[in-house]
C-alpha cells in the first residue's frame, strides 16, 4: 500500500483515528446532539474551510459540506442508531460552521451514493459561499439527482438548517455570481 501523501511534496497526512486525537465538546445549540468528540486539530484551527465533492447519499440525500462535517467527529455511529441523522447533522453544523465552503462539483455522483458505483455527471462547476447551507442548496438544485431536478427543501438537513437560521436555502433571494474560466 502506498502512503497517502506519496507524491505530495512537503505534505504530511496525519492519522486521526484514536480517541486521543479528539476532544469532547458541548454542542450548545444542539437539539439531539448535545456533546460530541471533535478532532483536536479542528478545534485548534484558526479557520475551518469545507471542501467536499458533490455526491448523492442514500440516507442524507446529498453529501456536501453539511454532511461532510461528520468526518470530523469520533462517533458517527450515534447519528445512525440514536439520533435522527438530519437533525444531528444540523446540530453538528451549529458547532462546526466553516468560514468558507468550496464545493467541488466539477464532477458529481448522482446515483447510488455515497459509495457508488453510480452515474457521474460533469457540471464543471465550483461553488463557493460563506454560507454552507446556501452552497449545499445551490449544488442540490444544480445537479440532476437520479436524472431529476430536486429542490433543496427535499433534503431534510438543508430544510432544517434553513428553518433554524443556520443558513439559507432560498436561492432566488441570494446574490449569486457566476464566473466562467
Amino acid at each position: 500500500m502506498k502512503r497517502v501523501e506519496q507524491g505530495l511534496e512537503q505534505c504530511r497526512v496525519k492519522y486521526q483515528d484514536t480517541a486521543g486525537h479528539f476532544r469532547e465538546v458541548r454542542v450548545p445549540s444542539g437539539e439531539q446532539l448535545r456533546r460530541t468528540e471533535v478532532m483536536r486539530e479542528v478545534l485548534e484551527a484558526d479557520v475551518l474551510i469545507a471542501a467536499p465533492v458533490a455526491k448523492h447519499h442514500a440516507s442524507g440525500g446529498v453529501s456536501l459540506s453539511m454532511k461532510g462535517m461528520m468526518g470530523l467527529i469520533l462517533n458517527r455511529g450515534l447519528f445512525h442508531y440514536r439520533y435522527d441523522l438530519h437533525t444531528a447533522i444540523v446540530d453538528l453544523c451549529t458547532l462546526l460552521k466553516p468560514k468558507l465552503t468550496v464545493i467541488d462539483a466539477s464532477r458529481a455522483l448522482t446515483t447510488n451514493g455515497p459509495s457508488g458505483p453510480g452515474k457521474v455527471v460533469h457540471p464543471k462547476t465550483i461553488v463557493a459561499s460563506k454560507d454552507m447551507v446556501a452552497a449545499d442548496a445551490y449544488v442540490t438544485n444544480m445537479v440532476k439527482w437520479y436524472g431529476r431536478s430536486i429542490s433543496p427543501d427535499k433534503v431534510k438537513h438543508i430544510r432544517l438548517a434553513h428553518k433554524r437560521g443556520l443558513g439559507r436555502m432560498d436561492l432566488e433571494n441570494l446574490n449569486i455570481k457566476r464566473l466562467t474560466l
Binding site: 442514500a58 440516507s59 445512525h80 455515497p114 459509495s115 431534510k156
Partner: protein
C-alpha cells in the same frame, strides 16, 4: 569485554527482531520470513507428521542438522532467539544471587528428561493429527514473544507518549514517532502470563526452558551427541568445580572432565571461567562421553499415551467447533490441513495492517489454539493487501497475488434483520452499502417501508468484513461475516474455482446489483430525499 558468542547472539536476535519489525505492509521482497522459521525442526516435523506436508525450506533444516551433528547444540547457544532472550533476561529475574542455584551436577537429571518426554508427546499427538509441536518450538515462542507481546507493548508506549507529548509535535513538528495503528491481540493476558512464567523459571535455573523443557533442544541434543568438536579438560584441572557452577546448562558432570554433550550448547563459559585455563574446545582424542540421559521406557510410553489422548481430546474440540463465525485468513487451505500446517508463528497476525487477524483462544479446542482467526469487528480485510498470504512459512495460508486473494472468499456477510437499523427499526442507515469495497451490498426499496434496506449479493461478497466492522449497531454487528460459502483450496486458482461457482468478485464495478436509475421511495423521491 563482550565475547564473540554473545556478540553473535545479539546480532542474530537483532536480525530476528528486525525481521519482525519489517514484517509489515509493504513487505520487502527479499525478507526471508519463511526460511527463518524453517530453522526449527519441530516446525518441520509438526506439519509432516500430522498432515504429511513437507513445508518449504527443508534445505535450511538439513544444513542445521548437518552442522549439529558436527558441532552439537551450537544452535541453542548461539542462534536461537529464545535462548538469547532467556540469557539476556536472566540478570533481570535472577535477583542478587546470580549463581546457578541447582549446583549439584546430578540434581536436574530427572528434569532434563522432560524435554524428551514432551517431544515424544508432541510427536505422538502429531501422528494422530493434532499438531501441538509449536508449543515447544523455540522459534514459534520467540516469535509470539516479540510479535504478540513486545511489539504491541512498545507500540502502546509510543502511542501513549504521542498523545501525552502530542503538543510537542503540534508546536514544533519534532516528535519523531508516528506509530499509527498498533496491533493488539485477544490472548494478550494469557501470553503475558505464559512468558512471565517462562522468564520466572529462568530464576530457578539459567535457561530453565532450554535445559528441561525444549523439545527442539532434545532433537538437536540427540543429533549432536557425538560432535567432532568437544570440550576437553587438561590435567591442569584442579577440580575446583567453578565450571560446574557456572555452566548455564549444567552440562558438566560430577567429574568436571566429562561433558553431557546433549546438554552442552557450546557457550564456552567453562573455558572463560576456568582459573587454570584447563578447558579447551577442539577435536577429541579419546574423551569419554557421558551417556544420553534419555527417559526410561515406562515414562516414554506414558508420554506417547498422553500424546494420543491429547490428540483425541483436541480433535474432539475441533469436531465440536461448528462455529459459523470462525473466519480464516484469505487463502487458508482446507481446515484440517490448515490446522496441521499452521506453525502458530503469528507472522500473519503481525503483518495484518488492520489487526483483523487474531490468535484464536481455546474456544475452538486445542487444535485451533493460536491459529489466526479473522475478527471483522476489530478490523476488515484490506482489498489492497495480501500480506498474510506472503509471510506464512508453512503454506497454511497460500501465497496469493492480489487478484487471487480477492477471490479467496473468506465467507459471506449475513444481515440480521432483527437488529439492522434499516430492517428492524426503520431507520435510514446505509453504512454497510457505503463501505463495501466490492459493491456487494445494495439498498433497495421495500413496498411496506419508508426507508431503503440493505441486501447482500452473496456472489459478490468476499467476506472482507468492512460491513461488519463499520456497522453502527452497538455490540454485535447487524451484518456479520459467516463462513458460509468460504473458499478453501489447497491448490489451483481461486479465480477459476470462483467463476465456476458463479461468483463475481471485483473492486471495479460500473453498477451496483439490482439498482435501477429511477428507483424511488414511497414518497416518489430517490433514496435519501424527503418532503
Amino acid at each position: 569485554m563482550i565475547s564473540w558468542r554473545r556478540a553473535t547472539q545479539l546480532v542474530l536476535l537483532g536480525l530476528f527482531i528486525l525481521l519482525i519489525l519489517l514484517t509489515a505492509v509493504p513487505l520487502p521482497q527479499w525478507l526471508p520470513v519463511q526460511r527463518v522459521f524453517a530453522l526449527d525442526p519441530l516446525l518441520f516435523l509438526g506439519p509432516l507428521l500430522s498432515s504429511g506436508t513437507l513445508i518449504t525450506g527443508l534445505s535450511v533444516l538439513l544444513v542445521l542438522f548437518t552442522a549439529t551433528a558436527l558441532l552439537g547444540r551450537f544452535f541453542c547457544g548461539h542462534i536461537c532467539p529464545l535462548g538469547t532472550t532467556l540469557d539476556l533476561s536472566r540478570p533481570l529475574v535472577a535477583g542478587s544471587k546470580r549463581s546457578n542455584t541447582w549446583r549439584q551436577a546430578d540434581s536436574g537429571t530427572g528434569l532434563r528428561r522432560i524435554k524428551y518426554l514432551l517431544l515424544l508427546l508432541g510427536l505422538a499427538a502429531a501422528l494422530l493429527g493434532l499438531n501441538l509441536l509449536h508449543w515447544g518450538s523455540p522459534l514459534s515462542l520467540a516469535a509470539w514473544f516479540y510479535t504478540l507481546v513486545m511489539a504491541p507493548f512498545f507500540g502502546f508506549i509510543l502511542q501513549s507518549a504521542e498523545s501525552l507529548f502530542g503538543f510537542l509535535q503540534s508546536k514544533t513538528g519534532l516528535w519523531p514517532f508516528a506509530p499509527g495503528q498498533v496491533n493488539t491481540y485477544q490472548t494478550l493476558f494469557f501470553l503475558v502470563l505464559f512468558f512471565a512464567g517462562l522468564l520466572a523459571a529462568n530464576r530457578l535455573a539459567p535457561r530453565f526452558w532450554c535445559r528441561y523443557l525444549c523439545p527442539a533442544g532434545a532433537i538437536l541434543g540427540i543429533i549432536g551427541h557425538r560432535p567432532l568438536i568437544r570440550r576437553k579438560v587438561s590435567s591442569a584441572c584442579t577440580d575446583c568445580g567453578l565450571c560446574q557452577v557456572r555452566c548455564p546448562m549444567q552440562a558438566i558432570a560430577e567429574d568436571p572432565k566429562k561433558t553431557l554433550t546433549t546438554e552442552c550448547i557450546l557457550c564456552q563459559t567453562c573455558r572463560h571461567v576456568c582459573p587454570e585455563q584447563a578447558v579447551d574446545f577442539s577435536f577429541p582424542a579419546k574423551n569419554e562421553l557421558e551417556p544420553l540421559h534419555l527417559p526410561g521406557r515406562r515414562a516414554a510410553l506414558q508420554a506417547v499415551g498422553l500424546g494420543f489422548l491429547l490428540a483425541f481430546v483436541g480433535g474432539a474440540g475441533r469436531a465440536a467447533a461448528g462455529d459459523s463465525h470462525l473466519i480464516r485468513p484469505p487463502g487458508a487451505v482446507p481446515e484440517d490441513l490448515f490446522l496441521a500446517r499452521c506453525l502458530r508463528c503469528g507472522m500473519c497476525q503481525t503483518i495484518c495492517p488492520t489487526n483483523m487477524l487474531q490468535p484464536e483462544s481455546l474456544t475452538h479446542g486445542l487444535a485451533a489454539h493460536f491459529t489466526p482467526v479473522a475478527v471483522p469487528r476489530i478490523g476488515p480485510c484490506e482489498p489492497g493487501c495480501n500480506g498474510c498470504t506472503r509471510v506464512c512459512p508453512s503454506g497454511a495460508i497460500r501465497i496469493l497475488e492480489l487478484e487471487e486473494k480477492t477471490w479467496a472468499k473468506m465467507g459471506t456477510a449475513v444481515i440480521d434483520r432483527q437488529t439492522c437499523l434499516a430492517w428492524g427499526y426503520d431507520r435510514s442507515c446505509l453504512v454497510c452499502d457505503e463501505v463495501c469495497p466490492y459493491g456487494a451490498v445494495s439498498l433497495q426499496p421495500q413496498e411496506d417501508r419508508e426507508v431503503f434496506v440493505p441486501y447482500v449479493a452473496e456472489s459478490r461478497c468476499t467476506g472482507c468484513g468492512f460491513c461488519e466492522h463499520d456497522c453502527p449497531v452497538q455490540g454485535q454487528a447487524a451484518i456479520r461475516v459467516s463462513n458460509m460459502w468460504e473458499q478453501r483450496l489447497s491448490q489451483g486458482s481461486y479465480i477459476e474455482a470462483g467463476q465456476r461457482l458463479g461468483l463475481s468478485i471485483s473492486r471495479h464495478r460500473d453498477e451496483s446489483p439490482a439498482r435501477e436509475a429511477e428507483e424511488t421511495s414511497k414518497q416518489g423521491l430517490p433514496p435519501g430525499f424527503s418532503n
